[in-house]
Structure formats: structure tokens, C-alpha cells
Point group: D2
Chain length 367, copies 4
């Protein structure tokens, strides 16, 4: 019943509430000897840090990570290296403003976990959503950095994991404009410059009107060798589906052609294979790099849908914990499109799932 752990071989456990003293993650099973500096993790955290643009919550959090265990450096090592024992990472909460939440202490915000947490546990830490807050994803991003290092070490080759937003609201990118270089040039991690411009206007309007928007994120892993994953309940795609669906506000996950595959004919869906310079060369990637739950060596392609942020200024009908009808309007600081911050989290979850399967594969098959 490790409700807050993920992974079998590269296993991590996150803890912490939005307005508690801190949040963190403990990683167990990490290979020894990996160079791991707090700066490496900090760099990734800064990318997802709140307050970086008007399109994300204005909560000011340094998100400074501390490595509390699992690394050791002495004059014989060139830096702090993982020891093979649990790696404990902690991020202290600074800018909490609990007062912001007093109004919704007794009101169930539609689309939020307020109602279900009370139904399950009898009461809840209502400050900023407590455990259900997107703050928890900071711990995933931190763990993801360790996972990427472990993955590269185990495979003895780098895996290139990238993520981007391919749809905001109903507006999808134009695949002809797809350019990974564009991703860092706009606040949406959008690979289509034109779409990014449109989205800025749309989201600004939504933000000003106190509304919010949804999005679709795509995560691509290149350089994953064939053979990672396992039948039947540890399929690589099954674990990826679980990993992405566990991210706040995610309502759907698909691999490769995904839902569109339902409309393809058997002929269209078959990724034919030729040989090129002595290696199998797939002519298409409808499968998204996974066949029978095992990686094929092609790019692994996962997309997930993020619902619009549930915290909106428009008053909504709801009830109180005492069962009285009322309306609620969520003030406080919120992301008009929480999907934006889902981009680095999706990439981190991909790294964590792949590191886990790289270790599992090495255990069973020795490679």
C-alpha cells in the first residue's frame, strides 16, 4: 500500500503538502557512483518554478533543493557521487499565504479534490489543496533528474527526453511547423512559433476573465534501445499511462497514434520494417515505439490531456462540508493553464519510467 511511491526497481516516494513546512522525495534503488550535485537538480526545478511568467501562478517559491542523503564526496571522488543508498531530496515551502485559502475552507471547489479528500479521510488540509496540490510535482521533477542520470548510466548511452505542448484549448499546433528549437522561445514550451503567438492572446484573455484553459502535452524519448518493458502488467506503455495519469489534472493518455489508431485500417496501422545499415528501420511509428509493452527502438511518443485549471474566479455552484448549497469563487494565485507546468513534469515521469525499466531489464536479462 505504498500510495505515494512509484517504480519497481528505481523507486521513489514523494511526501509533503502545499502549505506544510516542506516537500520532498526519497529515491531507492539508484545505481551507485553517479555524479549528483544539487545544482543539477536545481536547474531543472528552476524551469518549472512558479512565477516565471504571467501565465503561471504568481506564488514566489525559490524551490531550493537540498540533498539530505545518498551521496558522498571525498578527496578520492570528483564530486558528490550516489552511494547506492536512499537519496533524500527536500524542498522547503516559503511563500505560503495560508490566509488566501480560509474562504474555501468549508466549500468544495468543483473540479478539485476537496470533496473527495473529505469523503475518504474525514477531513483535509485545505491550505492550497494540501497533498493534491501541483506543488507535489516539484518532487517528481527533482527525482527525474536523478532518473535521467541513472538511465544514461545503465544504458551506457544518453536518452534524449523532450516534452512540449501541442494543443492549448481547442487550438492544435501545425505539425508542419514543429521545431524543437522553438520550445524554449515561448512560455508554453510550444514547438510551433505561430501557435505560441495565438496561445498567448487566448490565454491572456482567459486569465483576465478569470477563466482557465486545458492543454495536450507530448513527450518524446529518443535513443531508447529495443527491449525495455515487460508483459503483461508491467508493459512500458501501461506504466507510462499510470505515470502520466498520476499528474494533477490529467484526464487522458495515449501512445503513438493513440485514439486515432481506432480509425486506421490494419494496413495503415502496421509499421512496416526494412533494413538500413544493418539495423531494422521502421517506415512509420504508429506504435509510438512500443510493441507488446516492450520498446522497439523507435522514439517513444506519449501524449496526455490536461483539463483546464479548476481554480477560476467565475462563481460556481457548490456545497459546503456541512451540506449547504452555496457558490464558490477561487481567488488566490493560480495557473490559468496548469498544463504549462505539466510539460517538465511529463518529461520527468518519462525519465522515471524508463530508468525503472532499464534496471528491471538489466536484472532479468543482464543487459
Amino acid at each position: 500500500m505504498s500510495f505515494n511511491s512509484f517504480g519497481k526497481a528505481f523507486r521513489f516516494t514523494t511526501w509533503g503538502e502545499s502549505h506544510g513546512p516542506a516537500l520532498g522525495v526519497v529515491i531507492d534503488g539508484c545505481p551507485p557512483g553517479l555524479l549528483l550535485r544539487a545544482e543539477d537538480i536545481q536547474e531543472a526545478l528552476d524551469k518549472r518554478k512558479p512565477g516565471t511568467s504571467k501565465f503561471v501562478t504568481q506564488r514566489k517559491e525559490p524551490d531550493a533543493v537540498k540533498i539530505l542523503s545518498g551521496v558522498f564526496e571525498d578527496d578520492r571522488t570528483d564530486g558528490p557521487r550516489t552511494t547506492g543508498t536512499p537519496i533524500s531530496l527536500m524542498i522547503e515551502n516559503m511563500d505560503q499565504r495560508s490566509k488566501d485559502y480560509s474562504e474555501i475552507r468549508d466549500k468544495y471547489r468543483p473540479g478539485h479534490a476537496d470533496f473527495t479528500y473529505d469523503a475518504k479521510y474525514g477531513f483535509r488540509d485545505y491550505r492550497g489543496g494540501g497533498r493534491s496540490s501541483a506543488r507535489e510535482t516539484a518532487a517528481r521533477v527533482a527525482a527525474g533528474v536523478v532518473a535521467e542520470k541513472a538511465l544514461a548510466a545503465v544504458l551506457d548511452a544518453p536518452v534524449n527526453i523532450r516534452a512540449c505542448m501541442v494543443q492549448m484549448g481547442a487550438d492544435k499546433i501545425d505539425r508542419n511547423n514543429f521545431d524543437w528549437m522553438e520550445v524554449d522561445n515561448n512560455p508554453f514550451w510550444c514547438p510551433d512559433a505561430k501557435a505560441a503567438t495565438r496561445w498567448a492572446e487566448q490565454l491572456d484573455a482567459a486569465r483576465k476573465s478569470g477563466s482557465s484553459m486545458g492543454a495536450v502535452i507530448e513527450v518524446v524519448a529518443a535513443g531508447v534501445p529495443a527491449g525495455l518493458g515487460a508483459p503483461v502488467y508491467s508493459k512500458l506503455d501501461a506504466d507510462l499511462a499510470s505515470a502520466m495519469m498520476s499528474i494533477n489534472a490529467v484526464k487522458g493518455v495515449e501512445i503513438g497514434a493513440g485514439f486515432d489508431a481506432a480509425a486506421l485500417s490494419g494496413e495503415e496501422n502496421a509499421d512496416e520494417i526494412r533494413m538500413r545499415s544493418g539495423a531494422p528501420d521502421f517506415q512509420s511509428n504508429k506504435a509510438g515505439g512500443i510493441l507488446g509493452g516492450i520498446s522497439s527502438g523507435q522514439d517513444i511518443v506519449v501524449r496526455f490531456a490536461v483539463k483546464p485549471t479548476s481554480s477560476i474566479l467565475t462563481p460556481r455552484d457548490t456545497i459546503t462540508s456541512q451540506g449547504e448549497e452555496t457558490t464558490v469563487q477561487t481567488k488566490g494565485r493560480h495557473d490559468p493553464c496548469v498544463g504549462i507546468r505539466g510539460v517538465p513534469v511529463g518529461a520527468a515521469m518519462m525519465a522515471l519510467v524508463l530508468a525503472d525499466h532499464a534496471l528491471l531489464h538489466r536484472a532479468q536479462c543482464g543487459r
Copy 2:
């Protein structure tokens, strides 16, 4: 590294290959005292049994289940009752025709796991796909029957789990025609009689041309109380995503509004709440019955996309295990739309996930 097990509290492990002597499942953690007869399981297996219509593989399998352990009946019990010890269920394979598969022994069928199994394990049982065959889902359906009984016993109330096909190829049902009563009246478990008629023609054409079609399945659980599920990595929707994605040929999973949620505004997506006869009454169900990973008491709605069967008669370019280019054409007996048989499997997985979470919730919260 239990690759072939699923569930934390209600845990099952499946085993067996398509053309081995038998396949089966071992269920651990089932509550004691449940009435369990082989006939109850057989009834469910007969529903998914091959050979029942021209739209599913003509392989003739009685799929007769044997209960090998975990139940006991004597003159003080009114029938075989679960003892709380592992329930072992076995289904022997009868109609195997291994010769059918000799031709593809060395050829990798596009869209199949042939290539990836070889890449992972070094060799494979190529007969009928071995472990990657949809035969494995018979064990899930058998386990699902036990799960439904356990779920009703733990909740002390029946949960109504139903599944249907809502899209075949590109052709979706008309939601205005949705009628659960129709589901048993056609070979597609389609709730829209008109769509079923269209699909029959389309699939017959695909079948005759040696092609195949994909589909989208919807599974709905009614009567699930609020409170099942758990943050963060054991969210009910995360486990459902893993469960459905683990089914052969599934490429996408969504909850409630799913991918469409990305296009909704925050206002549209918020399921407002009123009171009705003393209980919370949600005005819509965009969330699909799950908030923050925990059930809200509304219907739990899951959809998954099934790709077209990869075994088709049309020759496709591929390579051999020796790396020579060739073409392959899959003869043998196959489902023109494997999604059809995914319907009872999806319902079984829903029962298994809910039974698991009902036990987990009782463990932690005592209800």
C-alpha cells in the same frame, strides 16, 4: 519485479501462453467467505469465448475453467466459499493448431510483439504470439468475476459495471441512441442499434478483404461510493489507465471528458454541485467520477482505444529474425476487430481495480 501481477490488496498473477498446455491466474488477498462456483466464472468466459460470431477468431476453445484452490465446501457451507487463501484458476488450451504459425516463425509481423520479444529475451515462443496473445485476457475475465464478488462484499452493495463499444473504425455511436439494453443484441456490444447495423457491414467488408478495424470501448461503473482511490501514485484513474493500457492492442485511455477536456473552459469543465435529498448531486460528470484520484460517487467512466488487429492477410514489408527483408501475410485465425473482445476484458479490469481499491480503502480508513 512481478511483471505479471496486478493490484496491491486484491492481487492477481496471470500465466500461460497461447499454445502452451494451459493458462491461468492466481488471486491473492481475496476476502474469505464468498460463494464462488466454477459456473459463475464459466458464464463470463463464455461471453468472451472465441468462435461465437463471424466477427471473432474461429479458433474453437471451450475455455473451461477449473478452480484448483482457495475455495472449500462442506456440509456446513451452502456451496464452495473462498477461504482467504490463493484462488488458482486454470483454463486448458485445446484447439492450438501450431502449424498455422510455422510460416511466421522467423518473420516479424508489423504491429506485433514478435520483434520486441526477440529483442528483449533473445528468442520467443512464436506460436500464436505466445505470452503476447489475447488468450491471456481469458485469465483476466475469470479473475474479474471473483473481483466483482469481492467488491460487492466489501462495499456491502452491488456495483454495476457495464462496458460497450462506442466507436468502430472512424464511426462513432450517436449518444442520443445510447441504450444499454441494446448491448447484448449485437455482436459488437454496441449500445446504438443503428451503429451496430453499419458496423456489421463495415467489418464484414474489412474481414473479407483480409483487413482489420480498430475501436473505442467505454466502461462505466455505477454505485461506487465516494472515497476509493488514493494520492498520488495510486490514484484510481492512474490505476485504471495502467489496467486498460495493459490490454493487448490498447493505445489510449481517458477518464470522463478525457482528451476533450483540453478544449473546455474552466467554467465548462467544473462539475457544479447541488444537494438532492440530503446528498451531493453533481450537475455534470466531466470528471468521470474521479477527483484528485479519488472516486466522487458519480459514475466512473473510462474509455480506451484499440488499434486494428495487426494480423492481416494483406502482405506487409518486414524483416526476418536474421535481418533479411521480406514480406509477411498473416494467415491463421484472427479477429478482424480485436476490440470486440476487449469489451468484457475492460469490464473485468474495472472490477479488478475497484476491488483492489475497496480493500485498500478499508485497510487505511476502515470503511
Copy 3:
């Protein structure tokens, strides 16, 4: 809550009752490519098979094992080889004589699990102890054979696992007479020929008087490299303790000097180290080959105490399931010293724990 599974990486699940149709085991995570014939397993099962001498139960069981999944042989393999998918092994129960047990249907046999099973589950399969019967250990011995093969393959070197009985009743062997060659020359797997002679008389007397005797078993694994095991809760000795204590009738487990270590001085307990032909050479083995939960490269030495068989002919005071005072006398066929059959089981558990840790070590440390 996998109550009936053991192991993390090399994981097995046993099922079956003493008087059900069959019992078996499913092994998950086994490396692919291992040669595995039913005969290999049968040979080990025959060693522990009931009815082989007057000192073990006269129940006649062929204990014929069937491999139901997880192996594949074709003209390109030299025999059935493991495929990396679950290995399902089944042993059918033949000689059941349920009538023998009707008398104790309502009576709780002192020292047996009758009372506690009823207390936990509300009722029980009382035939031959149901799930609590030593019959379950047949599945462990079968799994142990696969574990030994996996262990040798992963370490790329054979590990020599041997077990023997070092004490029966209060009578211990003389360590000066210790000779592994003697173990197969007597029905007690006793390494001291003189002790074996004494034990034969003592046990015969106990058997004739309807009594029973306890024993101490020693299991030694030679050839285990340094580095297997892990802090803190997966220590090799912690897993061995759990493994041995899970065997029926075991009441104590110790490693190396074990309980005697409490009486040693720090100086006496320290296994000093010298170098011999370039390798560390320990001057003693008080540690039993494990330091800090990790193997040191020395012999791994485990001992466990088995209580006298609880099924005795002498009438004992007890109560019925209805709470009436009565006496019980266990007829039926029983081992006068169940410890005898614990010898191969202990060796099997050692193999299973070591195989598990060999895979875990390879996963994390790549060797």
C-alpha cells in the same frame, strides 16, 4: 498484500491446499534462456517426497510436476528453455483420504493452525491442514530448482547449496564428525554417522509411542560472491530469516554464530582478515558470510529450529470450534519429525533468496 508470494526480483507465488485437486507455484522474473526440464524439478521433488522411509508420513504422493508455461522448445533450442515469462508449475494431489480428518473437523489441534485460521477467516478447509499443510513446501522445492539455475546463470558460476540436520531432539551432532558425504547415507540428512544411528533409535521410539521430535537444520551456501544483499530492510540475512521462518513449524533462525554470538567478546566475534593469493581471506566465520546485510564471499550459514510435529497420538486437552472443552488425538499419517523434510525445503529457500538478490544486485550495480 501478496501474502503468498516471496522475492522481489525472482518472485514466486504458491497456491494450493493439502487436499485440494492440486498445488503449484508461479515464478515471475526468471531470466530467459535457461534449460528447464520437468525431470530436473522431479528429481528434487522425489528427494522430499513423502513415504520414502518409516520416519516420514506414509502418505503416498507421486508429486509429479507439470510445467504449464514459461518454457519453449523448438528445433533451434536444445531443450525446453525459459522464455522470461511466468513459469507455472503444478503438482496434482493424489492420495488424499479426506476421511482421516473428519474427526478433527471441529476440534482445534494444539500447536496447529486450526484455531488461528478459524479466528482469522471465520472457517477453514480442515482437510489435512488445508493451506497450512507442509504439502505447500513441495511448491517451494520445485521453485528452488529454477532458482538454482537462475542463480548460476546470473553469477556465471555455480553456487553449492547444501543442507543437513545438525540436531534432533536435544541430541546435537559432533562437529568433529561432520562429513557432507554422510548426508545421503541416512534418512535424516545427518552429516554425523554416529548421530544418525542414535537418532534412528530415538525417533523410532518416539514414533511408536505416538510422540514426535523437533530438530535443527543447517543450510550452507558456498561460492556466493561478496556484494549480494542490501541495506536496510532487504538485508540478505533479514530475507533469509523471513524465508526460513515461513517454513511450517520453524520457531527460530540464526546466521553464523547466531545466538551464541551474544556470549562472545568483541575480540572473539571479529572475523579477522588476511590476504591469500590476492584475495581477502577471513580467519573465521562468526558472521556466517554476511556483514551489514551483504554477503562477504564466505560461506553463508543459516540454521533454523523446527518444533516437534504437532500431530501426535497422545490425547491433548483442547476445545471445539463451538467452545466446548474436549481432548484430541491426531490419527492419520504424520511425520514423527517434520524437521526431516525441512532439510530440502531449507536448501530451496536459500536458493530462492540468493537468486532474488543476485537479480537485485545486477539491477542496481550491473554485475
Copy 4:
């Protein structure tokens, strides 16, 4: 591969090294609504705190615990209550004196994990034993306090868990002098006042001569209802064996009569049952409160043997990490009898195992 986690339903993960910035534990699966104050945990930690007598290490550690997550208090709760989300506890290391350890940086101390950690991980944090230090047990004691609260809440009745030292060196207590009231009157948690006096002299002599002594600890749980535990690999005694063997320096574990059971006749070993005031009344407790791996309602009695502290001033032969022969003499601050501090740790492990099984039993059997 959660090497550093323990428990299935009440699951905790410890992290931290002896000389890192901090150590801690994350508890997952704890029931919600339990009153939990840092003071409650602090009280238990103070009991095992170093430096309390001349018989334990003089390292000065406040061992001040912080609750970082999993509890919430507002004006509607009477104090901080568990929320059902992960409880993160942290203890910062203060008095580290790393210089003390520089001398043994390259030398393997006999009886320590220095050699095996290097063999497994390639290098190690040698400061104070790093992860293998008894410092880790502080996290267990902290988690044990939460476990005791959870256990009482789940059983809706208090369980009285007590531990004491019953043997130091070769000197056992006299069972006729056994008095729980004496346990807090001496630095050994010894229930026999006379023995405590003898031990003080013996240990003082050992301490002055730079030697060390071993011990045997007994843990007794009273008030545990019948029914906790489960066949076959989650037997209550199997989990207790693993729990106790995972404690530093423990070399043996036994339940009830333990190793002495081997010398008993079947008649002597049978705990006969009578009725007393309508309840089963066992006439003896050779079983130590566990039959078939399930609690019988009697006192649960576990003993474990602790080897003498490996850190001694007497020079011992050993080798360096470069494979050169040398001698080592462990200065620094050490417990002359580490078993003393094993007493509260043993009690904590008993609470953790029982809480785990209480939740597991409630999950499966609803009580």
C-alpha cells in the same frame, strides 16, 4: 526493489547516513485522524538517545524530530492529526566529528560492513559507518510511535508492547526474578535487578578493556487479538523475523520456545487449550502467540541475539581497500554493548509489524 522500506499496508521508508546532514523516515498508509505531536515521538527518541549513560556511545545527539508532512491542525481539530497522506519525519545530525573516522577510511573493520559495502557499491561513505550505522534505528523508533497509535486505533484497543534485555554476554536473567517494573530502573532495561547489578560490573570491565559484549533482547506484545498474520510468506513470525534481523548486529531471532522447541517432545510443545469465562485459555505459550503464522491471542514473544559491538580498541588483523594486510583499532565513540540500544528498537519493530498486519487483516477480513 524498495531496499529501504518495510511493511505492506503500514509502509515506511528510512533514509540517511550517520554523518550526513540528517536522517529520517516517510510513513505511507497510516490511517487518518490520529493525534500525532512531535513531543510524542521525541519522548521515545529520548529513551534511545546516545549519551544517556556510560554504557552507550558518548556521541551527543539531541535527536530532535521534526514532522514535515502528513499532519494537520486547525481550530476544528484538538491537535495535529494525521491526514492519511505520507508522514515525513526528519532528525538532523549535529555531533558528527568526521575526523574520528579518517583513520579507518581505508581499513576494513572486522565485523563491520566496510568491506561488503565496498564490494557491492564500489566505494562507501565511511564516516561512522554511513548507512550501516545504528543511527538509522532512530528513524525506526520514530516510526514505531506512529505505528503504536495506528495499531491501537485499528484494533480499537491498546496493545502493550514491552522489551527488555534477558541476557548480556553469557549471563542470563533468572526468570524467577522477572519484573517489568525493574526495566526502567537500570541502564540495561533488565527485568532482573540482580542480573543488572552483575551486568554493570561486567560491561564496565569490558568497556575499560576496550572490548564489547553481546546480548539477547526479548519483546513481548500483550493484547494482540487472534487473527493477525497470514499464510504463507506473510506469516506474522516471518515478518517479525525479518524485522528483527534487519536491526544492526542481530544474528538470530526466535519465537516463543524458539530454538529450545527442537528439544521438546510433541506433548511438551503442545499448548493445550481450555475455556475460561467463555474464551479460549491456553495452558502454556510455547508457540509465542503465533500458530501457522497467525496470532492466537496469547502474548507474542520474540527474542533476538545481538553480537558484541564490532568497534573495539583491541587491534585486529585486517586488510585495506587496496588489499594490504594491516591491523585496525577502532577509536571514536562506541557502545560497549550495542544490544542495549536494541531494546527500544525491537519494541518499535514489533509495533511496526503489528500495525502492518492489523491493516492487512482489516483489508482482507474487514475486522
